[in-house]
Amino acid sequence: MHELGVTQSLLDIALHHGRQAGAARINELNLVVGELSSIVDDSVQFYWDMLSEGTIAQGARLNFKRVPAELHCHDCAHRFPLNHQEYICPKCGSANLTVSGGEEFFLESIDVDLDET
């Protein structure tokens, strides 16, 4: 729902780093997005196409690397993805679990052309 503002922040960060590196064009953005971040890829791409128009990042491709949230069993050390229904270890039935990962939301890198040729 709030992808417009998020996409604007993303564009600002990409342009800042692109300019700093002396890029003529930004071709791709590599994003890392955890499962617990409430972001819809298609929606970001939609706003991206509008907001990036007329910048050196116009038409750049957004690559989303999705990071799952994982549950970790303290009794048998099994790791498994969060399933949103029950938090029980499928291997040993233990309820002694903690969650890790899934909250990532950052721009990892950008692929750029350094000159016009």
Binding site: S9, H17, A23, S37, Y87, T98, V99, D111, V112
Partner: protein, 221 residues
Amino acid sequence: MPNTIPVVENILSANDQIAAQTRARLDRDGVLAINVMASPGGGKTSVILKTIEALHDQVRIGVMDGDIVPLDLEKIAELGIPVSLINTGGNCHLDANMVHGALPSLQLDALDLLIIENVGNLICPAAFKLGTHLNIVIASVPEGDDKPYKYPAMFKGADVLLLNKMDLCEYQDFNVDYFRHGVEVLNPGLAFFPISCRTGEGFDAWLDWLRDRVAQRSSVG
């Protein structure tokens, strides 16, 4: 010539920077700020009203409300509490910029506790830091006992959890153990208070907890 430039920057870093400015301002004035989040109808305003009624003789309280109409805020203002409406224009969450912009509308150095009522939503508000010290999440019995499983980010980021409308437990198939297990996995040791705004059940324990937090803050500030 194609090149990969490493960036590794949080996409919400601009929001986080503004949140940090707000936090510094609150700390300077010795105000404890709490971010109250819940679904629409979960009981944010009721909890806030009841908390103010119980504490306003001992604690100087101000309220910011992210809303589209001042209905809730009028109820709070009737208690003689300074209030500030952040008109969200239908936005799904408050962000750091909205809160920072509203700071001048309250006299912060005359407050001990600033209560910020977020937009009713269990998803988006979890992602945006406001600069507050504590996240208060309110769930309620009629919403169902599966909320920690459906909205893990909100419960994972909470500093205290109130389960409201406990008086309705006898009419609902709400499994408190199932609910609490989901919370415990996401947020081990989270302070948890089952309450009812209607009957007052459990409210004293929540008030004691909050009073302690305000007292700790004041002694630091």
